[in-house]
Amino acid sequence: MIAVELFTAQNIGFAVISLLMIVAALRVVTTSNVVHAALWLVVVLSGAAAQYVLLAAEFVAVTQVLVYIGAVMVLFLFGTMLTRARIGTERDLNNSYRLLGIPVAGLLFAAMAIAIVSSFGDEELPGEPRLIGVPEISDQIFGPYLLPFWALSFVLLAAIIGAIVLARKD
């Protein structure tokens, strides 16, 4: 019974995509080539966009593709190009104390896993989810969450100006 429910199309899709994401994420933090890391990050971000679709959040998924994969990745590649004369494999990308990260990450994962399993266990997501369209999201943004929106606009403006100030040559 459970086995049958387990192998729905959605679950198979989830398993494949998340496996891909995890492998790609591991490559992002272990590869010795900065450009490769950026490309692996594209894989993770695309996988995340696919997960958003699975979670019935199409608009967010589209934004993810446009903003992250379209704009942020370009920024990353530019940053890499501008700060490194040579693009290619490099040694010395990791700290001497990188092994410290493994127990810390493991500890964090243990804490979160225990919390998630004990709180939600076998709880199912609704099979027929309520569809949340763009109008509803815009109502949210320009309604109850207008103040964060203003703050965010200000942050973006400050970021633009800050980036110009920081990066210009004089």
């Binding site: 810390v104 964090l108 804490a111």
Partner: protein, 770 residues
């Protein structure tokens, strides 16, 4: 109906000033902001705003005091005069309301008036005293905020505002003590004051939190108040509800805060060092603000201490023990100081000990009354010291080196000083007599005979060291700077403030000889001196019941009240006890739980005044003055012709004593003189300091007392207290060195630590919740 005799009493009178007393701290706060923002551009550099805002506060405080007196007068004899309370909610979360507000009752108006009054005078005095100072504007800004902090603490309706005012004062005292921070000693003194008080503040935080968590449920259910409310906490403490351990620990924690702020043993060491600040600051800090805050805390939350520490119980409690130690130790230390301000500082510590002793022994009213009178004469003494250094001794405070014989040159300062000294000593018609004697009297009447003896001994010591200081300053021959000698590196140059400007220097060269200070300095001194004489009459128990104004106006009446659900605040308080007709003195708000209704104030006793007891303490005071005078005259200067009659009995003093220029030679003579004059064995407390220079040849009681004094000073004061301070410093340093490698400056390290900590904390929470 159980309350057969219940009656709805007449509604209490209010008034604009009572309703709006909260403006008293708000006005100086605005004044502070204005001084900081535009002070430097004003013609008087912002000082006019400071003085003006304090004057407004004074008017508000006086109005509130007057209307409070009206309110009490209009109420029935047995009626509980409810405080005038106004609150505003500023934060509401999770069913909890945080309010800010005013709580005006007798204690509030007394302290409010004293603080506003003395702050005003001190600011006027500072106009002249700090003229031309490098940070003149900053000084007035800090001084104004300092007063605002104290006023806010005094009117606080809840412990949060109380804490806020308390901390503002701590911060401002740091700024003011370190006003001349260019001198390393000053900034060290400021840091010492700040950290010592801060040590005590931990107790305040712990105490407030404990009271909140312990009292909140009860107060919300029964009174509709939060657990921060002072009324709520008071009623809760007297309701018989609290667990005795909880309230004991809370009271103890709060008392630690009071120890730190009010300079009680063993945290008194910061107070004498705080003399590094300008003299007006010392005056304000030591008379009405800052150090009184600790005493005020105990007086304000008296029910908590009353129940928690079992005041009026059969055994002595921690407040009395600490207070008694403080009285004696501080008075003994005052003998060996050569700095006039340090003598006064130790005197303050000792007098605060009296207030604490009174509170600890159930003498609430005399203690509060002593706050009132002490503020006037101690402020006056400090301002006199400042006047002397300003106009006579070239900014030196050294009594032995730079003063002497000033009474002819500074008649107003001398007269004010004398009056205040007599008030401090507790001589009959002056104010200190009425308050200090009341404390000693009540301590004895409440059954603590030993502490009464300590109080009497303290009165003797007080009279003795103040006489010594008076003699050194105003009598004998002029020495050092006051004799016109110019020291090339006197204190004047060390105060960065005074060498930075030319006006003061010309002022110095023009009047090289000692002279009386200007009107801006003498006027506040004279006003305070007048109050030092007459303020005692506000509760002159010797003159009969009708003179006990303070008792009528200030002491909260210990009656059981039932607050009806409807009706405005204080509009319809119902007196619920038939027996109360025999006077509020018989109400049951003591150790027993009130059967029904609420008590806001515990029942305390009042000693019947007896002239015999007063005469005993007066005799001790006069003995102290006489012995000290004789010794001082014998050792510090040539015998004054007017003293022949007095000195005949002693036979020690001879006209041949000459003034000694050499300090050690002087000490040598003093030493031998004391040895010869050990007729009054208690006099030797004054000279153990000299024993460091010369080997003692003392015998008998003199030797014992010397050893005791030495142990107190060297072992307890210097070694234990300073040692503890130093050890904690070293501990902090070694801990810092140990963990320094963690501060590698590398982002990755920081990130690892951050996430690891978060993970551990998260894991703990997860495990706790599953």
């Amino acid at each position: 109906m159980m309350f057969a005799a219940s009656e709805v009493l007449a509604p209490l009178r209010g008034g604009w000033f009572l309703e709006n007393a909260w403006l008293a701290p708000v006005v100086p706060t605005i004044g502070f902001a204005l001084i900081v923002l535009i002070g430097k551009r004003l013609p008087k550099k912002g000082s006019e705003i400071g003085v003006l805002s304090m004057l407004v506060s004074l008017v508000l405080a006086s109005g509130a005091a007057w209307q409070w007196i009206q309110r009490v007068g209009a109420a029935n004899e047995e009626q509980f005069v409810a405080p005038v309370v106004r609150t505003w909610t500023w934060w509401q979360a999770g069913g909890m309301q945080f309010t800010i507000g005013q709580h005006i009752d007798g204690l509030t108006v007394v302290v409010l008036f004293v603080v506003a009054f003395i702050s005003t005078l001190v600011q006027i005095y500072s106009l002249e005293y700090l003229r031309g100072d490098r940070r003149y504007t900053h000084f007035f800004a800090a001084l104004t905020l300092f007063s605002a902090g104290m006023l806010a603490m005094v009117i606080a309706e809840d412990m949060i505002l109380f804490l806020l005012g308390w901390e503002i004062m701590g911060l401002c005292s740091f700024m003011l003590i370190g006003h001349w921070w260019e001198d390393g000693a000053n900034s060290r003194a400021a840091l010492k004051a700040f950290f010592t008080v801060r040590t005590g503040d931990v107790g305040l935080l712990v105490g407030i939190s404990m009271l909140f968590f312990a009292a909140n449920d009860w107060t919300t259910t029964n009174l509709g108040l939060s657990g921060f409310s002072i009324r709520g906490i008071s009623a809760w403490a007297l309701s018989g509800e609290p667990n005795s351990t909880v309230i004991l620990v809370a009271a103890f924690a709060l008392f630690i805060a009071a120890i730190g702020k009010s300079g009680q043993f063993p945290l008194h060491t910061w107070l004498p060092d705080a003399m590094a600040g300008p003299t007006p600051v010392s005056s304000l800090l030591h008379s009405s603000t800052m150090v009184v805050a600790g005493v005020f805390l105990v007086a304000r939350l008296y029910p908590v201490f009353f129940t928690g520490l079992d005041i009026l119980g059969p055994s002595s409690n921690v407040i009395m023990v600490i207070a008694a130690i403080t009285i004696v130790i501080a008075a003994a230390l005052a003998f060996v100081q050569t700095d006039i301000k340090r003598v006064l500082a130790y005197s303050t510590v000792s007098q605060l000990g009296y207030m604490m002793l009174g509170l600890g022994a159930g003498a609430w009213l005399p203690a509060v009354f002593h706050i009132f009178t002490h503020a006037f004469f101690k402020a006056c003494l400090f301002l006199c010291a400042g006047s002397i250094s300003h106009s006579a001794s070239h900014h030196s405070f050294d009594m032995k080196k730079d003063m002497g014989g000033l009474r002819k040159h500074m008649p107003i300062t001398f007269a004010s000083w004398t009056v205040s000294t007599l008030a401090l000593c507790g001589v009959f018609p002056f104010s200190g007599f009425f308050s200090k004697d009341e404390i000693i009297d009540n301590v004895g009447a409440n059954g603590y005979t030993f502490f009464m003896v300590v109080g009497l001994g303290g009165a003797f010591l007080t009279a003795a060291y103040m006489t010594r200081a008076t003699y050194l300053t105003f009598f004998g021959q002029a020495r050092g700077a006051s004799a016109g000698e110019h020291d090339t590196h006197d204190a004047h140059d060390m105060h960065g403030a005074h060498d930075a400007h030319s006006s003061h220097d010309t002022h110095d060269t023009k009047h090289d000889s000692p002279h009386e200070s200007g009107i801006l300095i003498t006027a506040p001194i004279a006003i305070l001196a007048v109050l030092a004489i007459f303020s005692g009459l506000f509760n002159a128990t010797p003159f009969g019941e009708s003179w006990e104004y303070m008792k009528k106006w200030v002491e909260p009446r210990a009656v059981v009240v039932v607050q009806p659900s409807a009706g405005g605040p204080g509009a319809a308080l119902v007196l619920s006890l038939p027996e109360a007709e025999s006077g509020y003195g018989d109400s049951p708000c003591g150790k027993e739980t009130p059967v029904d209704g609420i008590c806001y104030a515990p029942q305390v006793n009042h000693a019947k005044f007896k002239w015999s007891k007063a005469l005993l303490s007066l005799a001790l005071v006069f003995a102290g003055i006489a012995i000290s005078w004789l010794l001082s005259a014998a050792f510090y200067g040539r015998r004054d012709p007017r003293l022949v009659g007095l000195t005949q009995r002693n036979g020690v003093a001879r006209a041949g004593y000459r003034l000694l220029a050499n300090k050690y030679y002087l000490d040598d003579l003093y030493e031998r003189g004391v040895v010869r004059a050990v007729v009054g064995p208690m006099a030797q407390g004054a000279y153990w300091f000299n024993q460091k220079v010369l080997d003692g040849i003392l015998h008998g009681i003199a030797r014992v007392a010397r050893v005791v004094a030495l142990v107190v000073y060297r072992d307890i004061d210097q070694r234990v207290v300073d040692g503890a301070v130093n050890a904690s410093g070293e501990l902090a340093q070694s801990a810092g060195t140990t963990v320094q490698p963690i501060q590698s400056g590398r982002v990755g390290h920081y990130g690892a630590l951050l996430f690891a900590t978060a993970a551990v904390v998260a894991l703990v929470f997860v495990i706790l919740n599953t």
